[in-house]
Symmetry: C2
Subunit: 147 residues, 2 copies
Amino acid sequence: MALVKELTVGQVAMRSGVAVSALHFYEARGLIRSHRTAGNQRRYSRDVLRRVAIIRVAQEVGISLAEIAAAFQSLPEGRTPTREDWNLLSTAWRDGLDHKIAQLKKLRDGLTDCIGCGCMSIDKCPLRNRDDKLAREGTGARRLLAP
Amino acid sequence: MALVKELTVGQVAMRSGVAVSALHFYEARGLIRSHRTAGNQRRYSRDVLRRVAIIRVAQEVGISLAEIAAAFQSLPEGRTPTREDWNLLSTAWRDGLDHKIAQLKKLRDGLTDCIGCGCMSIDKCPLRNRDDKLAREGTGARRLLAP
DNA sequence: GCTTGACCTCAAGTTAGGTTGAGCTTGTAG
DNA sequence: CTACAAGCTCAACCTAACTTGAGGTCAAGC
């Protein structure tokens, strides 16, 4: 308890590379937690850095904050997550990530190998024929698949 | 000219699976084109289906409409794109797609193999150490990387 | 003891990507 | 020739993910 120095928002912002306002925002969304000092200032434990790193990387590949938050539900509330905890999260995401990787490859290779193939019928084009039974509901405005 | 039946918005919407309003939107954004009948109704040539298919797949993997529009700039204005045209677009995207695939794999494998590795220092974690010199400017609000 | 910079809250603004609705025109089928 | 579904335009609204700004507090240096 003496050695674990806690971090201020500014420090987390600097070390993680995200804006202070974004950290506030993540906290409001339940993605990270903090406790307050006597003077009402936020203090973060070090594992917030890991969380933020994951948030950023996940976002970059198109995972929404809501999905990340949902995944983070599997992490323990009170204590610093163990390797085991992170592994649970990992396996929970693995399928979705595999699917996305496959999609990307299909797009990349499709653009090269299929794009000029003459299959003007959209129904038959392998580019289009993805088995999209993905659990992609309630994305509101920016929904990715047709209703 | 007699055989190439043109499509109405409704037909394109049905065949492509996107809403009519979305097609209007894509057109306003310069992603697709149409010409008008005497009665001011849109008519699309068949290759719009290919374009829409690509738009949807690209979006699914996190490519913005602006990026797609930019890529589409390489396609010819007047005529139906040839295999050659699509190939140009393909190679233009390949690097970006490869990068995204790598990111996804890093996330997927990172979550499994690295996440519990103890590297609490965010600066050194392989998850975080992406060489992100990507041309990702002007994304305004939903920017994915730190300023 | 006061100034300066880091914090705090809360409301409002921004961008992307669309959807919804009102009010009006077209085109096709009976 | 008259319904009525399908189109058209334009403005308003919506969610996600933040940023900006106003107005006020806290703490460390001089």
